[in-house]
Structure formats: structure tokens, C-alpha cells
Symmetry: C4
Subunit: 263 residues, 4 copies
């Protein structure tokens, strides 16, 4: 099998597109944000990506319909330019979402490289990747940390609400698709930013996704309703508060012990 | 070595064939069913599949004859159309059986994809895969759960004794060849169904295979004698009953502890 | 890198050759036998096999000379036909030895397949592989168990001192190069035998190698001096006897505990 | 993705070049030495090597700039011949450094082979690789052990301060790029030496790097200031001395327990 199979349903012509990646990862920050964008923008599903580097299985839905594991590509064409940053408000949008990333290191490289080739063929000029920055402790007001593929785009974004080089472990790495798509951008004459919402890393974190989307909407001039994420964030907070209450009687126990990964 | 080597002994011309997969898996439900079909249909062995994604070994029989690990293809041509569902009773049958599946995730993809190409070249239109659905507890009357590759075939099979979307973990996956061959069907303009017999998952389960074959025979109009599977099922039941009796004195012990994997 | 690189020092023309494999494995029975053959036959080193499926390292000798991990090919041309079995005594010999086998399952397949292609190009008609059959207990008079690639060669060898189908676990497999080279023989229109000397599996076992070579020499009509192996076998026996003596005072301890893998 | 992608910034013409490898490994002896050479020689960065066999991530610096994991190639052209050994003082230098080696065995082979092809295309005649030789105990005056790819270069280097065949485990191997680049040299009609500085293996060891560079500078006639390495070595010694002091009260504890890997 080819390492990556793309099944196109449509061949959209996009205007100076930016590709936005939202795949699973720390706190599922990127995945939640990506799926929220697809929904709010009513983005159009135009291609499925299959790969032998995904888990070898099908997913079965409640009706009994089976589908091979895949990543999916959606697009959003602007009806009129958004208000975002100069030069960004009229960019059409290509969205990459899915339930899995490649399951081996070289599989990650292969898939990201093929996605970038496809993006390049579609005229993509900029790459935005989204993920969570795990702090290992609860965070009330998640900041959005940033990493850039070039000095130029880093400078261009300096006035946005993004903290560049502000991670607690400077000099560290970004693992997986959010890192690789960003890192490969220069090989395809593109530029990119990785937006990382701070998160505990213990829970799925819609509040962190919200923070990421707020920054990104401002850049791209997207009018996105974030209330669904806010509602979900309050639900998660209710659960984690409850878990922490349950921990109260035993003061000595570290709070981390009661935090479970809630998918 | 090519990832897959097919050694043909014969090049049969088949009529609108359905491919049936019966490889090892949970409770060996699919493997037992596949081997039983081969035997009862007196199916003709026409090709051997070797792959570098199988375990690197030969199997030696009691006479000292060694054979590389392989999957095997058999065919069954109808002498006269069976009584099965309209449009299904005259389909010739291609059977895929063997002692192993690919041992790596990408190996699974590679082998399944090559098998589908081969099936496509032979004119296969439908794919049936067979497996066990592990419940983690004993089951007296195993139901047959189903997953379909398309709405059309799902609707077509609705009156059969198959429970679609009835798994205890809806939204879950089918791992391995039974999943992938089904998932790849649309890529080859085929349709398919995965038949999963409920099983504890602790034992080889001929009763579950029997349930799967009963449904499949009814669809395809095959006249299959299931008594050999029934006999073997009774033998396994006798062993498991014995094991459970041995557990009686100590009520506190979980029954799972006494259930061993009997290959 | 190509999966296998062969560096030829010579391109010998061989007469109806038999290829003999002696690579590391259980008790290093095959490796010891292979190296002994190379030495006693004064076989000529004519090719080095490198592969990215070997461990990624060089071996450094006592002088400080480094060499990439490799398998090596030697040949032995008959000056006059040996006395062996009819049709075997005049066969020239190709020897495959080395310190490693492929370290991944698909690497094993790749290397064995390439070796068989090379052997086929050199006109090899028969394949003998050598290994140990681990019993998990000490063995005084190791028998030589056999597995054959075809009924024909199995029948032909029936009067030799080989026990076909006599393993303690009939229906089991032969893992690694000794198995795969044998299993692949029919794909290259060759026939083969795997000779497995019984061995405890705990120690390097020159006595088991001796048993294998005795049978093989008789078939091929080779006049091999086995005294070096006998001497080494006595040394190993002295060590194991000592280890077992040390175990005596504590009768309850299982003897397996004192048996270490002595490379 | 190709297994290795080389992005050239420049295409230097070099005179009879020697390639020097300094990648991470035991005590980071090679990496420290390589980076020191780059700095002291003010070597010119002319190519980046990306590979799907590196970890799938980007490294982010303190400013928030992200770069794909890579190895880097630098060159140093001689203004005038150095004083080194006859025939060595005028060789231009190609330097291979980076933060990672390939993360799988076959990835190691692939990357090293491609690097050697590239080196061969650039006219490289000699290969020097640098690493640490782990002793598992503290070492005051690290010797430089050597391994050679041929008798010729081994003889040529005999008067240098290199101990050939002097490892504590003669007959052992050199794992990774330092080994493979050396081992592959003959396949590309090159010769090479691996220089291994003795080191405990517990700490990053600039003193060992210094020893290696001293020998290499003498051969190549390089005028390298080693004071930065000396300073760093004294810092590490201060830390390790402190750790050993902390261990004093409890005499029974093995000193190894207090030695941590300080990256």
C-alpha cells in the first residue's frame, strides 16, 4: 500500500490559503479547536487521507457503519474578507483534522511530508498548527504560546496575544504533526506558527482550545462563536472541581493523584 | 523480498465472487469458521500468500515437512445457485485462511491492500470478514454483531439475524484484517460486512463460529453441515465447566482467574 | 542503503552446489558447525554480505581493526568426488556464516530472500541449514532432527541418521534463517534440509554441532576432522559439571538456575 | 518522505577533504568535540540533513523559532597547510554535527550510507569519527583509543598518541554513526579512524573531548584553542566532586549511585 492514499471528493480552488492543523495531542487542545472550526465555519469535507502508518483498524459508528481510520481535509472559502491582520483576512482556509496521528516516528514524517506536498499543490502559503502545552498543574487562564518557522512571521505576529519563547522549558521540542508541519514549512517555501494553549495535560481542555481559537480568529478575521467550547469547559471544570473536593479530607495526598485523563 | 509473494497453482474464473476472510483473532472465531468452510465446501486451494510481514519461520508437520508461514486462498464454484438472499445465491466464493496475520501495523495494511488488489483482479464484488467480539464474560447464546462498509449493504442485510451497531462499546474499532479488508472495500469499489460472533475471548470458541456461519450460510444459500463445530463446542464447554467447578470452593476468587486461553 | 550489499572478492564457478548455512542460534550449534566446516575444508572466502538489518555497528579486533557487521560466503570445490550418498558426493559447497542474523522479522525475510537469489544465480540446487533444537534439559547423546522442504528429499534422506518429525513439539516452527532459507527453497526450485542437533539450549554446544556435521559429512562424503569440536565439547562439559556440582548442597534449587548461557 | 533530505546552502570545492563526525553518544565526547571544532575553526555551515529516521519533532529556541531536527554539515578550507602529519596538513575539513542520531537500527544505516555518498561526491578521502569509550568508573587522564578501517591507516597512525586495540573489551563493537561511518569507509574507497576518548560514561565529558581533539589536531595540524573545553571540564569536575562528597557519610553506598547523567 502507498504510505498515504488521498481520496478526493472535490478539487477546490482556494485563495492564498492558510492550512490549519487540529489533530489529537496533549489535552486534545488542537483536535477540539480543529473540530470546532470545522463546525462553526461549516467547512466542506473534500478529501480523506488513509495511511499504513495509522492504526490498522476501522472505526464503527452506532449504526454499524465502518470506516477506515483517516485524517480529513476540509476547506472554507471566504464570502468576504474578514477583519483580521493585514494580508490575512482574505485567506481561504484548509483544515486538517482526524482521530489519529501516525503511530511510528517515520510514519509521522511520511504523513506530514505528504500532507505538505498536497498543501503545496493547492497553493497553501501559511501553516497554522494547534496543540496543548502541558504544564503538569491546573491553569486558570491559559496563555497561548507560540513557535514560528521564520523570523519574518515571528516579527509579523509580535503584537498578537501570543507568547513566543515563553515556555517553561525553553529550548525544548514540539513533538508530532504540530511540530513537523511547522518545521517542514520552509522546505515548501511556506511560513508557519504553532499555537500552543497552556493546559494541565490531565484533561481534555476546551478552555485551552478556546484561547487558541481566540488568537487565531483575531489574526484571520474569523467570526467564530466559542460558546460551545465554553459550555464544555464549564462541564470539565465541574468534574475536576468535584474530583478535587473528593480529595479534600486527605490533605497529604497530592492533588495530581486524583486527576484522571478524561477523554 | 516483495512485501507479498503470491504463488498461484491455478487461475480460476469465478462468477461475481464474494471473498470470505477467516484468519486468527479473538477466540479464533474467524479462523475456525474459515477452516470449516474450506472443509465443508471442499474448496480448492489455488494460491499461497507469503509475506515478510508474517513471522520469520517455517511450520514443520508431524512428518518433518516444512512450509513457510502463509495465508492460503481457496475457491468454491457453485454447481447450481443456492437458495440464499436474492442476488447472493449464485456468487462463487473466494476463501482467505491462514495461521497468521501480519505482525506489524503497516504490515497489516500492506497485506490487506495486496489481497484486495488480487481480489479485485479476480472480479470480487463483496467482502465478508469474520471475527470474534470479545465480551470478557461467558456467553450462552452468542449473537452475531455486524459492521458494514456502506449504507446500501447495511440496509440490504437488515432482515438477517445480524445486530448492527449493537456492540457493548459502540463507536469502537475492529482491529486487524477483519477490519481493514472491510474498510478498504470502498477503495476497490466493493462492499462488505464484518460478522462478529460474541465470545468470552478466553477460549477458542467454535460455538461463536457456528453462529457466524449460520448467518452467512443463510445469506449465501450454502448448505453447510455444522455438526463438527457443535461437537468441538461441546468439548470446549466440558473443559470450561470443569475449570469453573474447580473454582467453586473458593467463592471469592474471580472466575476469570480460572479461565485460561485454550488454543 | 540497499537492504543488502554484497561485495564480491571472487566469482567462483561451482559444480551443482549445495549451500550450507551456519549462523548463530540456539546453542550456537549451526554457527559452530559452519565455522568448523570453513576451517576444515579450508573454504575460500569470496563475498561479504552487509545489510541494514544487521546491528548498526562495527566489530573491532584485538589489533584495532574495525569491520562492519557482515555475513560471509565461502566456497569449497571438490578435488575428487567424495564417497557420500549417490548424487551428493561431487557437489561443490557454498558456505554462509557470520556473527549475526537480521534483527527484525522483515529483515530476516529480506536477507534470506536476497541470499537465495544470489545462491540461485550461482546455480545452487540444494540447501542445508543447521541449528540447535533446544530441549531445556541436558542431553547426553544428541540426536539430529530433520525438516525437509519436499517429500522427495525427505524420502531420499530416510536412511540417514536423521529423525524426521521427531521433535518433542511436532507441528512447531523453525525460527530464523535456518527456517526461512529452507522454506524459501521451493520458491527458487531448490530442495533443502534443516539439520537440528538436540541441545539443552543453555550452553554453546559443540557436541551437538559435531552430531550435525557427522550426518552431513556422511551425506556429502566430506572427510572432516571433528576432534577440535570434541575437545571443545569436553571443555564445556567440564564447566557444566562444575556448575552442577556447585548446586549439589541445595537439592531444592532447580538445576536450571545454575545453568548460565556461556557464549 | 525521502529517508534523507539535504538542503544545501553552498557547494564548496574542498581539497582532499577529511570528514570529521561529532554526533551525540557516550559522554557526548564526540558531540562536544565536533561543536568545539566548528566554533574554533569558524567552520562554514553549508548544508542541513533532515531524515525521517530522526525523532519526529522540532526544536524551539528561546526566541520561539522552531527548526526541524537535523544534522548539519560545515566545512573549513585551509588558508595555508598546517603542520600536522605528512600528507594530512593540507586537507580541507568537512564537519558532521547535530543533536541526534537515527533512532532505529536501519535508520542508522540509511543515514550513514547517504552521508558517505554525499561525502564521496565531495571528494572526501578520509573519515575521522569521534566518540566516548565508557569505562563505568571515573578516569583522571583519559587515553584516546583508536579503531581503523584498514591496516594501512592503522600503521600510518602508529606513532600518534592513540591506543589501538587497547580497549578493556577487545573484540567488542562500536555502535552508531561513529562505528558505521568508519565501517562503510572501504565501500567508498576511503579510509578512516575512530577516536574514542576514555570516559566514565556518567557525565558529559569535555576532558575526554579535549583528549580526542589534541590527538586529532596534531594529525591534521590544526591550531585549536582548547581552553573553553578545559573550563567546562573543571566545572563538571567541581559538580562531580560535590556529588561524591555528599556521598561520604554513607560509606556503604556505591559511588555509582550518586553519579547522575548531567546533560
Amino acid at each position: 500500500m502507498e504510505l498515504m492514499l488521498v481520496k478526493h471528493r472535490d478539487a477546490p480552488k482556494l485563495n492564498r490559503p492558510v492550512m490549519i492543523e487540529g489533530l489529537p495531542g496533549v489535552g486534545n487542545v488542537g483536535k477540539l479547536a480543529g473540530e470546532h472550526l470545522v463546525e462553526e465555519l461549516k467547512a466542506v469535507h473534500f478529501a480523506d487521507i488513509y495511511s499504513k502508518h495509522f492504526p490498522p483498524q476501522v472505526m464503527v459508528d452506532d449504526e454499524g457503519l465502518a470506516q477506515m481510520v483517516s485524517n480529513k481535509l476540509y476547506y472554507h472559502k471566504r464570502e468576504k474578507p474578514g477583519k483580521g491582520m493585514p494580508g490575512w483576512g482574505d485567506r481561504d482556509i484548509l483544515l486538517l483534522v482526524g482521530d489519529f496521528q501516525g503511530i511510528t516516528p517515520d510514519g509521522q514524517y511520511d504523513i506530514c511530508y505528504e500532507v505538505m506536498k498536497l498543501a503545496s499543490d493547492m497553493g497553501v502559503e501559511k501553516v497554522f498548527t494547534m496543540g496543548g502545552y502541558g504544564l503538569g498543574r491546573m491553569v486558570d487562564e491559559p496563555r497561548v504560546l507560540g513557535a514560528a518557522s521564520s523570523i519574518d512571521i515571528l516579527e509579523e505576529m509580535k503584537d498578537q496575544d501570543i507568547v513566543f519563547g515563553g515556555g517553561e522549558q525553553p529550548g525544548s521540542g514540539i513533538v508530532g504533526a504540530s511540530g513537523l508541519l511547522l518545521g517542514m514549512a520552509p522546505l515548501f517555501s511556506m511560513e508557519g506558527i504553532c499555537f500552543m494553549g497552556e493546559t494541565s495535560g490531565y484533561f481534555v481542555d476546551p478552555k485551552s482550545s478556546e484561547a487558541v481559537l481566540r488568537v487565531m480568529s483575531s489574526i484571520l478575521g474569523l467570526d467564530i462563536d466559542l460558546s460551545a467550547l465554553e459550555t464544555r469547559a464549564r462541564e470539565i471544570e465541574a468534574i475536576t472541581a468535584k474530583l478535587q473536593d473528593m480529595d479534600m479530607p486527605d490533605e497529604e495526598q497530592e492533588s495530581d493523584d486524583t486527576l484522571r485523563y478524561i477523554g
